[in-house]
Symmetry: C2
Subunit: 211 residues, 2 copies
């Protein structure tokens, strides 16, 4: 990227991470940990492969990403965030939080990955009854199930099938399921948009932040 040529902390930051795709590459590494080139391509649908290679080179030079020549069994290159790259998490989180209301628009063409959604859920929910027995909610959306669990007064999300039967399982399109979980839509509204559930929908009240 061409430098903004401003002696300003924000401008200098954008000189490094302000290019198209750059923050999304960092998102992939922040959410998924070590990634192969192919994993990154899968998590960044639409990126041109030459751009991905170029950005990874730039991020390496900027000490945000490093390349690990892998252990014998797999024998592939892994990309990871450096400590300096990890320090971008707060900024990523604030931008992610700001973007949540924009999830109201789901273009039918939009690609969906469950790990993108789980990170937003993580930021927007909390456990309002930390002393009660933990609850589990499973969302059947995206490319793999999302499991929401209460742990130590916080909410933790993970991917893949729930280890134990969940207290509530939601199925349907991403937007209305998210709307219900985040408290933007009520149960009746979500059902009208095709959301189905199994279990106890009341557990959701425990997770939602007041606004």
């Amino acid at each position: 990227m061409r430098s903004y040529g401003e002696y300003c902390s924000l401008a200098k930051a954008l000189d490094v991470v302000g290019d198209r795709w750059t923050l999304l590459i960092i998102r992939e590494l922040a959410l998924r940990g070590a990634c192969r080139y192919t994993d990154l391509r899968n998590g960044l649908p639409g990126i041109a492969t030459n751009l991905l290679a170029q950005r990874l080179r730039e991020l390496e030079q900027a000490d945000i990403v490093y390349r690990e020549d892998a252990p014998p069994p797999v024998a592939t290159t892994l990309f990871r965030l450096t400590p300096r790259g990890e320090e971008l998490r707060p900024a990523l989180e604030e931008l992610t939080r700001w973007g949540v209301p924009l999830m109201h628009e789901q273009d039918p063409e939009d690609a969906v990955r469950s790990h993108w959604l789980s990170s937003a859920i993580d930021l927007m929910l909390t456990d309002r009854r930390p002393k009660r027995p933990p609850v589990t909610v499973e969302l059947r959306i995206g490319d793999e199930p999302i499991v929401i669990q209460t742990v130590d007064g916080r909410v933790r999300t993970s991917l893949g099938p729930a280890p134990a039967p969940a207290d509530l399982v939601l199925t349907g399109a991403e937007r209305p399921v998210l709307g219900l979980v985040l408290g933007i839509t009520d149960l009746a509204g979500a059902q009208a948009l095709g959301v189905a559930y199994e279990g106890d929908p009341a557990v959701l009240d425990r997770l939602r932040v007041d606004r």
Copy 2:
């Protein structure tokens, strides 16, 4: 900007504010409040005027900026952040904070504005002795003096000459003065780089965060 086409909160956010110059325009409005077109151009050296006009239109459509047709005495257009635009502050602050170490590189060509610097200082300093009488430090850098004051256990920066004589006045190039204030350089090092002071340099210790 062409949409990333991802149903992801961060990607949706970047669809709106990820274009070149966009976050810097929002920075200007966040730091300076209402701005005229000309003020924006002055705070964004290097932007092409057609781009500024286009971005402002896009930001208006995205409900981040609005245009106020001004009161009779001035009779000019003012641009302001909407409430939705104000909600970008936390994200701006985190990116600004992340960029501070990059201020280590000051290209002689870089434009400098004092309000860019004061916002970074604001984020990086605190008052470690809130019960003692307040102190004032004045920095003669950028295009106008920066005044740092301790108020209620916080640090407040403002622009323009200090209302009362400061406990410490620093003069010199931006980078070494900032380095000294933020505790990256010590006094001897800063002096070696041309920084001069008047007053009591010890007040700086009170403002710096431990690392």
